[in-house]
């Protein structure tokens, strides 16, 4: 399995993602420039990653302009053919703007850029995972019909929870609808999440919970949705 990490003007987590995948998870990584279009070296079993950052300066809306970059045209095509795509933070925003995932990321409810460790429950997690977030616009929003559909199809892959794994309003750091931190599409090949698993894959950084996410989400290791995350009702 190979990974392609797209570099937009303004991406700033692209090298973190490369380092996490290459050095901590021993995966082959190819960096992809936003002006290129060629994804012919990737097959359906590979994964394209849209990293965090402020692509195109977050102008207009986060992710809105990236959607029209040459590389994104190829990524959309790749995703529609069943290729795996992961968007983290700004990458999640790009996926929503590209209509590969439903909904949108709004400005945080508390009006602040939040940079801290939070806890998540979801895919591959048999306990709350400690993962850093760093965003100003991370409040997931979609209308109730869309949210109901996401839950019915089990497409909510991560929710914000407290240290004990309880999904509470207090644990909902940015005010996201139904504590949603990450979702996938109906076909389960496109994943988006606001928290940064790539910032938590190295023992040197004192936290390797991000490995569990990258491994279970993308590499198919223990890819189970825990009952707690799947069955929660609001």
């Amino acid at each position: 399995m190979k990974f392609g990490v797209v570099v937009f003007p303004g991406s700033n987590c692209d090298r973190d993602m490369q380092d996490a995948l290459q050095n901590d998870l021993n995966q082959e990584v190819i960096m992809l420039w936003h002006k290129d279009k060629d994804l012919s070296m990737f097959t359906k079993d590979d994964c394209i990653v849209l990293p965090g950052g402020f692509s195109y300066g977050d102008y207009l809306r986060c992710g809105a302009i990236s959607r029209f970059s040459p590389m994104m045209q190829s990524v959309i095509e790749f995703a529609n053919k069943g290729g795996k795509v992961l968007g983290v933070c700004n990458g999640f925003q790009v996926l929503c703007e590209s209509h590969l995932l439903p909904g949108v990321l709004l400005r945080n409810a508390n009006q602040q850029f939040i940079c801290k460790n939070v806890h998540l429950i979801g895919v591959g997690a048999d306990r709350p995972l400690k993962i850093p977030i760093a965003h100003g616009e991370g409040r997931y929003y979609a209308d109730d019909a869309t949210l109901d559909k996401l839950e019915a199809n089990n497409q909510v892959i991560y929710r914000y929870c407290n240290e004990q794994g309880e999904i509470t309003p207090q644990a909902n750091c940015n005010g996201a609808a139904r504590n949603i931190a990450g979702i996938c599409n109906e076909a389960r090949n496109v994943f988006g999440m606001m928290p940064h698993p790539e910032r938590a894959t190295s023992e040197a950084l004192g936290n390797t919970d991000g490995r569990i996410i990258l491994q279970s989400l993308i590499m198919g290791v223990n890819a189970v949705v825990t009952e707690k995350a799947a069955l929660v009702n609001f």
Partner: protein, 81 residues
């Protein structure tokens, strides 16, 4: 002929607008307590080459639908001069 089209993009009425809330707090600190609510959007000015005002408006509408506004979170209004 070149028409000027103003696109007003606003957050949907049912959505919380944290930016508006922050501005509102500032206005209240100024002592302008009569202001009951603030919502912040953006105004985008387009210079559109078209034969008729209607055509210019149609082009601006397409631009707004495809890029300038995201209907999941925003609505837009056009005015032409």
């Amino acid at each position: 002929m070149t028409y000027t089209v103003q696109v007003k993009v606003m957050p949907l009425k049912e959505l919380l607008d944290p930016q508006g809330k922050a501005v509102m707090g500032g206005l209240q600190n100024l002592g302008l307590g009569n202001i009951q609510d603030v919502r912040v959007g953006k105004n985008i000015t387009l210079q559109v080459e078209a034969n008729t005002p209607d055509q210019a408006k149609a082009i601006a509408e397409e631009a707004s639908k495809k890029l300038l506004a995201n209907p999941v979170m925003e609505y837009f209004e056009l005015s032409i001069s």
